[in-house]
């Protein structure tokens, strides 16, 4: 009985245990199912969220791309980048004539506005231009020599706008010996080493002792630094015109017997292995230079071809030499004028190439040199001001192409001696004041002019300028 009870109990226990196992398993299975369902639901939820985030991010990226597209389009449509260079200047001139007569004008004010343009056309082509207005205050009188191409926009005139430069640089060949063509109205003004006084960087191809003014032409630049390992070495060959006969309404017709003035030149640039250094040698010939004398009172042209001029120039300059805050430069040039014997009538005078004698074909050689330096004071409170000193000397027959000099005195054409000292006070990154003094002593007449024989200053020359002093103050902003 007892055995039966025990067996029954055991059986019940087994059944009970089996039933419990079954129940637990069922619960486990149920839990498993629920967990799987939860995981599936969670995965679906996460997928939905991921899709939602991805859609949101995609939308944001699309929006950003749309905005960037608009900015890019505006940038591409605005093809020209503009810059402003504005100057107001007051000069005090004192003039002493060869006969001792003195005159002065202590209060000559002028404004000059330059609008600079640049545009990157393609990877190998860019455009650079500049338009200028330069006038004396309250003066609407056009500068009488505005018709002379190199001087347009370079001397105070009326409110007219002149194109000072407009050219395209086209890199025709790249590689070890790159070749670029510069076509148009050249960067031929305010060149080395004027940038020290103008508180800027190099603004022209050519030494300012020999060339300063507007010029139209084509220049080929061959880069030689890669094959020579000489930094910044380049050979330039240029062709331009100093005068082109205006045939009026007809593009083909009589030239009035006057040939175009053609100018060819070769220029070799190189660095000297010192940071900020530049050296240049050049040889230029201008054929059939014109007299540019005014017409007679009856309006008859007196203009004539009067000969050829050759210029040979060498220069060297150092910017911030050895991090010393000192800039130095030296230029030397020789001019060879070859008159052809032709003269133009100018009042009672016969005007030939550096001669007043009809039939004179004797060569006239002249030379000039220009040296100077500028020092920058490290003074943060005063924005690092600068002082500069320049001196140039020209011989009796010195003649160059600086008629378009932005300096109204055209001091580098002096047949005599000129000294200039200046102080630059920066106001901020873009603006500065400059105060300066020029003292020019003319030993010979006609400085800067190709016509008439330069003669020693004498008391019997009342209209000839013997000495000029100029004190000036200018405000300049370039942005």
């Amino acid at each position: 009985m007892k055995k039966t009870i025990i067996l029954s109990a055991l059986a019940a226990l087994v059944v009970s245990s089996h039933a419990a196992d079954t129940s637990v398993q069922a619960q486990i299975d149920e839990l498993k199912s629920k967990i799987e369902a939860l995981q599936k639901a969670q995965n679906e939820q996460m997928s939905k969220q991921a899709v939602q985030v991805s859609k949101t991010e995609t939308t944001r990226v699309d929006e950003l791309e749309d905005r960037i597209d608009k900015v890019e389009t505006a940038s591409m449509v605005n093809k020209i980048n503009w810059g402003v260079d504005f100057r107001t200047r007051v000069d005090s001139f004192k003039r002493t004539a060869a006969d001792g007569t003195q005159s002065s004008n202590n209060d000559v004010w002028s404004n000059r506005l330059r609008l600079n343009m640049s545009s990157v056309i393609t990877d190998d082509m860019k455009f650079t231009g500049r338009v200028v207005m330069y006038k004396n205050w309250a003066d609407s009188y056009a500068y009488p020599y505005s018709g002379m191409d190199p001087m347009q926009g370079r001397r105070p005139s009326d409110s007219s706008i002149f194109v000072d430069r407009a050219y395209v640089d086209w890199t025709v060949l790249k590689g070890q010996v790159p070749l670029a063509l510069t076509i148009g109205r050249q960067p031929s003004s305010d060149g080395p080493s004027h940038q020290f006084k103008d508180n800027t960087v190099r603004k022209s191809t050519y030494s300012a002792l020999s060339f300063d003014g507007g010029a139209d032409g084509v220049v080929a630049t061959v880069g030689l630094s890669k094959i020579t390992s000489i930094p910044d070495m380049a050979l330039r060959l240029g062709y331009g015109k100093g005068y082109q006969q205006n045939t009026g309404a007809s593009y083909v017709g009589a030239s009035g017997g006057i040939a175009d003035t053609k100018v060819v030149g070769a220029f070799l640039d190189a660095g000297l292995g010192i940071a900020g250094s530049l050296a240049q040698i050049s040889a230029v010939k201008a054929t059939n230079v014109v007299s540019n004398t005014p017409p007679t009172t009856l309006g008859v042209s007196t203009n004539a071809n009067i000969g050829d001029v050759s210029l040979y120039t060498a220069m060297v300059e150092f910017t911030n030499l050895a991090n010393s805050n000192l800039d130095l430069f030296a230029h030397y040039a020789m001019s060879v004028s070859s008159p052809n014997g032709v003269t133009s009538a100018y009042g009672p005078y016969n005007m030939g190439l550096l001669t007043n004698t009809i039939g004179d074909t004797a060569e006239k050689k002249g030379h000039a040199y220009w040296v100077g330096g500028r020092y920058t004071f490290e003074n943060t409170m005063l924005n690092n001001p600068r002082v500069g000193l320049e001196y140039n000397h020209g011989s009796q027959n010195w003649f160059s192409f600086t008629q378009g000099s932005n300096d109204v005195t055209n001091k580098l054409a002096t047949r005599g001696n000129a000294t200039e000292a200046y102080y630059i006070q920066p106001i901020n990154r873009y603006a500065y004041l400059r105060a300066g003094a020029q003292i020019i002593n003319y030993d010979y007449s006609g400085s800067g002019m190709q016509i008439g024989a330069p003669t020693v200053m004498a008391a019997g020359m009342p209209t000839e300028l013997n000495k000029l002093t100029n004190y000036y103050l200018l405000f300049n902003v370039s942005y």
Binding site: T182, P187, T200, V201, G223, R236, N323, S478
Partner: protein, 87 residues
């Protein structure tokens, strides 16, 4: 003796300045194109340590950083550029 010392010190200072890395060389080493940014943008780079680190500028000495900054700002996209035929 005194003048010799002064001369020697001057030469040391001069040689240091002559042979210090130029900003241009540093920019080339770090593969930085000055014309890729405007002046103000370059100045902002030098105000942000993380930007400087991303360009490798943080590893330079103070003197080299100043030289690099001077070069980049003076040759930035909106800086005063030299002009000459073919340049």
């Amino acid at each position: 003796m005194k003048s010799a010392l002064i001369t020697l010190c001057s030469l040391m200072v001069l040689s240091t300045s002559v042979f210090a890395a130029s900003g241009k060389d540093l920019a080339k080493t770090l593969k930085l194109d000055a014309s890729s940014k405007a002046i103000k943008q370059w100045e902002k780079v030098f105000e942000k340590p993380d930007k400087m680190a991303s360009m490798g500028i943080d590893k330079l000495s103070d003197g080299d950083q100043n030289a690099l900054k001077g070069y980049l700002t003076s040759h930035a996209a909106d800086s005063d550029h030299p002009e000459a035929a073919g340049l």
